[in-house]
């Protein structure tokens, strides 16, 4: 059975990263407590007008559940590509600087060439998306 006391000594990985989880849980709990206590200090007096969505005082028109413009998705797609690239770059950067790897003949040159190729492909993709007008918002 997992209890808080033996979870800390469970396996090395959990032991290593559990404190961050502990921290996050305590942080979430703290914020939740503040927000739960707050209404106890001041009781709300809701009225019809107060509960309407705020639109500068005029009666609400239509719904707020609008469709998101398709161009936003194009930029989000671009972000996904580059974010995955960065996950790869983190590992590459660490491997490049690792002392043992530097002694392997041809390792640095090879990883440099691979990375340049990879980045050029991505930048060409970015250029293509630009030429297609994904970043033109006029």
């Amino acid at each position: 059975m997992i209890t808080p006391s033996n979870l800390l000594a469970y396996t090395p990985i959990e032991q290593a990263y559990l404190p961050v989880l502990v921290m996050l849980v305590i942080a979430l709990g703290f914020c939740a407590v503040v927000l739960i206590l707050s209404p106890l200090i001041m009781k709300g007096k809701p009225s019809d007008a107060k509960l309407e969505p705020y639109e500068c005082g005029i009666p609400t028109v239509g719904t707020a559940r609008i469709q998101v413009f398709v161009r936003f998705y194009l930029v989000a797609l671009l972000f996904l590509l580059f974010d995955i690239e960065i996950v790869y770059i983190i590992i590459w950067a660490l491997a490049m600087t690792h002392a043992e790897n530097a002694q392997v003949p041809g390792f640095v040159a090879f990883s440099m060439i691979v990375m340049v190729f990879y980045v050029v492909v991505l930048l060409v993709g970015l250029l293509y998306e630009w030429k297609k007008g994904a970043l033109n918002w006029n």
Binding site: P4, L8, A16, L18, P19, V20, V22, M23, L24, I26, A27, L28, F30, C31, A32, V34, L35, S38, P39, M42, G44, K45, P46, L51, E52, P53, Y54, E55, C56, A64, R65, I66, V68, F72, V75, A76, L78, F79, F82, D83, I86, I89, I90, A93, L94, M96, T97, H98, V108, M112, M115, V119, L122, L123, L126, W130, L135, N136, W137, N138
Partner: protein, 325 residues
């Protein structure tokens, strides 16, 4: 070797409790002081006096504001998605506490010393996007949704150059451990070796915190309050605290990555760390009264067509120079 609070206290739970107490005390006082500082700086730059009434130099003004905020009525709009609406302030604020626990303020002054602290910090920073979208969608208000969409798009657009510029530092330091990175700058801070990366990082960080000139997500004249239009009382207070705390976080990260963390002559390390952080925050406030607000398409183009290619080239150049020398 004593590396962090966990070693000092001998127990993860004790260290976590102590860290949360210290961080919360610091963040709440710090946010109030930063709001005061923002008002004073703005006022002085416009040849006004700013707050003067409460306490010396009006220092207690924001404390009074916070107490007033506590007493404000909490309203949940009728058509809001209640769960998302209530979860949003927590989702935005909680990661900030977790991030603060990873910052080495001085030597072994850190909750827990991680080898991948940098990745953890960057991962937690992106968590705020979830909170922003929960707030925008949950409020069921047009201004909130528009503000949230703009905010998310801006955040993801500027996250790429931010991460790329950080990677140049990782190449130099050969480590993702924030303490190691700061340790290696005891001689020369990385801002001298990586001026371009430092510049890109700071511009992207300003955009990530939604500060002027990148403040269209909450452009008051168009979108009222942006994604937190519908929030009141302490729920709004959470967003406000989160905004100023995230300034401390990006400036703290910039201090560790580029300005050598706690290294400096004469004064103790922790003092140097906060001097650097607050100097950077002052520069951010200075930006606000120097640059006009960018239009949305200009903002996206600037990120994708200027910052991203520059950061990529800087990264490759760094790798080449490092390996050839």
């Amino acid at each position: 070797m004593v590396r962090d609070f966990t070693d000092i206290f001998g127990s993860t739970w004790l260290a976590a409790a102590a860290s949360v107490a210290v961080i919360m005390a610091f963040l709440s006082v710090n946010s109030l002081m930063l709001i005061w500082m923002e008002r004073k700086v703005s006022a002085r730059m416009q040849r006004r006096l700013g707050p003067t009434e409460h306490g010396p130099f009006g220092l207690l003004q924001t404390f009074c504001d916070a107490i007033k905020l506590l007493g404000k009525e909490l309203i949940t709009p009728r058509h809001a998605s209640t769960k998302l609406y209530l979860a949003a302030p927590i989702l935005i604020f909680a990661p900030i506490i977790a991030i603060c626990s990873l910052f080495p303020v001085s030597g072994n002054w850190v909750f827990r010393d991680y080898d991948i602290a940098l990745v953890l910090v960057l991962a937690f920073t992106s968590m705020s996007i979830l909170g922003i979208f929960a707030a925008g969608w949950g409020s069921n208000n047009k201004y909130s949704l528009l503000g949230a969409i703009r905010s998310i798009l801006q955040n993801i657009a500027y996250e790429v150059p931010l991460l790329l510029s950080v990677m140049a530092v990782v190449l130099l330091a050969g480590s993702l451990n924030l303490r190691d990175i700061a340790m290696q700058q005891s001689g020369i801070p990385y801002v001298l070796l990586q001026p371009l990366a430092a510049l890109i990082f700071f511009v992207a960080a300003t955009a990530e915190t939604n500060r002027a000139p990148f403040d269209i997500p909450e452009a008051e004249s168009e979108l009222i309050g942006g994604f937190h239009t519908e929030y009141s009382g302490m729920r709004f207070g959470m967003f406000f605290f989160a905004e100023y705390s995230s300034m401390v976080i990006v400036c703290g990260l910039a201090t560790i990555l580029f300005l050598g963390g706690w290294h400096g002559p004469v004064l103790p390390g922790i003092v140097w760390f906060f001097i650097k952080v607050y100097a950077l925050i002052f520069v951010m406030m200075w930006f606000r009264w120097t640059f006009p607000r960018l239009r949305f398409d200009q903002l996206l183009k600037f990120s994708w067509l200027v910052l991203v290619p520059l950061a990529v080239l800087n990264l490759l150049a760094t790798a080449l120079v490092l390996k050839l020398l």
